[in-house]
Symmetry: C2
Subunit: 330 residues, 2 copies
């Protein structure tokens, strides 16, 4: 590290800068009996153990940053943390199989809240078919939750972000923009429309969608945590292609239309830039039938490489909005 960088803070570097720095230091290796099929950097790493493959991923959620206890109940926060983490292994084509939970809480946290959180966490894990394999508790100034998800790759090969090819169809399973709209509703001090607020509080995930897509021959896949465009950019860059979205094919739920009108914004902004819904987006070979639950919303083009076009226009030009969100911003 150069001397002039010694005072650089994480707020300067940003989350992406830090993640890039970390990934550049990691080397995947072949180790005792375990093969690393997909190293850290995708939705989840994939390891194989004598013919059977597992996807593994970790996520951290901090009070005030990812959730607020006055906006969501303990049950909802527990469900959401489990859901968001398990979505990552689904996005590799895996079926959730296990979760490990580490939670830091202040000593003033009530046992009631902790019990509710755990009940929600286990309820969501159970609904996905995942067993709680371990946990740790610690005391912390604020509530901090870390969830490791493990998924079983039933169909063999993992679906990384790098396999999309020109001509592929882009399909989505699940909703996009609902959680972002719900967050805006809560930020304005409102509690309805309930369907949007609920979408923010607990994502509604089809935990078999990733495995179905893998079985159907999908070429690449990701779950939408930072926003549809932001996450499709990962596929565009990882695969060296361009993703062309056709907004005419994207259904806009009535609640989004009416709430966006009340807020004086375009609902498509929430759909394209809003995160936290954890819909699964995948690319499928041309003429291949998409599995149940997936809807076509665009296609893969050869160029411009790394770009996501909205009805043929670069995203930044189509909307004056920054996709995803930046951690460590001061």
């Amino acid at each position: 590290m150069s001397p002039e960088a010694a005072s650089e803070t994480l707020a300067d570097l940003g989350e992406l800068g830090l993640v890039t720095k970390i990934l550049s230091q990691i080397n995947a290796a072949k180790i005792s009996g375990i093969g690393v099929e997909v190293p850290a950097g995708d939705d989840a790493a994939v390891i194989s153990t004598e013919g059977s493959s597992l996807a593994l991923s970790v996520d951290m959620y901090a009070e005030g940053k990812h959730f607020r206890t006055d906006w969501s109940t303990g049950i909802e926060i527990g469900r959401r943390c489990a859901a968001a983490s398990m979505a990552d292994v689904c996005a590799m084509g895996a079926q959730p199989a296990g979760v490990l939970l580490a939670i830091g809480m202040p000593g003033s946290t009530t046992s009631h809240w902790a019990g509710e959180f755990l009940a929600g966490f286990m309820e969501e894990a159970d609904s996905a078919g995942a067993v709680v394999l371990g946990g740790d508790v610690s005391d912390c100034e604020n509530i901090v939750i870390s969830v490791t998800a493990i998924g079983h790759l039933l169909s063999g090969a993992a679906l990384a972000r790098s396999g999309a090819g020109a001509g592929d169809t882009v399909g989505i399973c699940g909703r996009s923009g609902m959680a972002a709209a719900g967050l805006r509703v809560l930020q304005r001090g409102l509690r309805s429309p309930r369907v949007l607020v609920d979408a923010f509080r607990v994502p509604n995930i089809d935990y078999s969608a990733g495995a179905r897509a893998a079985k159907s021959g999908a070429t690449s896949m990701i779950d939408i945590s930072d926003g549809l465009v932001a996450d499709l950019e990962h596929i565009a860059r990882g695969s060296g292609v361009c993703i062309e979205l056709d907004t005419k094919k994207i259904a806009v739920p009535e609640e989004l239309v009416s709430t966006a009108a009340a807020f004086g914004v375009d609902p498509m902004g929430w759909i394209l830039a809003g995160g936290d819904d954890h819909a699964i987006v995948a690319t499928f070979p041309p003429k291949k039938r998409m599995p149940r639950g997936f809807t076509a919303i665009g296609k893969v083009a050869p160029a411009p490489v790394g770009a996501v076009l909205i009805d043929g226009v670069a995203y930044a030009d189509a909307f004056e909005q920054v996709p995803g969100f930046r951690h460590f911003s001061s």
Copy 2:
């Protein structure tokens, strides 16, 4: 939960109370292609995937509680977090194979510190043969680190805390009491003896000891994180036996003797009650030769069940000291 418990806090309940509550809610199950051989509650859970078994464990470390940035460098904290987590999968008889890291830090954290932490973390993982399989970063009020460790069970069966039998020999691989003594030194504002302070900063772990013990036919195993007696009590209770320690067989390093004398305490107190050294303790069948690195320090007796005796005396009577330490104490 009963209504009168609604205001109960984690400080009232304590860490053990919370963990017990969590474990009572978890049911291990047989799921799609993955069998849970050892559920949550031991050092690590063990899953099998078509004949090959993996041990998994998660731990959380909070600034001010588990480490202090003015007592340890970023490199040392990174190494210690990786080491303590990997020790748990070793204690199941596994060889560390992978780690996942989630870290929360305030935006004011310097990139330099974060870089040092990561370098230390990866150095320790590498020394154990483990690949960094994933990570997440978040911003938090204080530094919070969560590490998931994955180990490969080369010899097949996992070593839980429940297999010790009367007549077995108790063996230890690694040192005990050094880290606790180093912590007391730092708490007094001192920086030496260096060997004790270093022991607190980074545990010195033989990552193959657990796998060697498993291969040698050990009947139960645990790593010392809360203290030799406190952790042996887990084996005594889990196996329904009594552990009899013979202090004449426990080597007391010269640095412990001299520092304890200067502090006016018995060095055996640190050895028996001090945590964080992550030595591996295992029980071996009578007349079975212990593997390289293990020293006999006692034996397993049929009764009193759940007790650890020190030279024939109950621990609480032998030392006026509470083993382990209690989180969430206010």
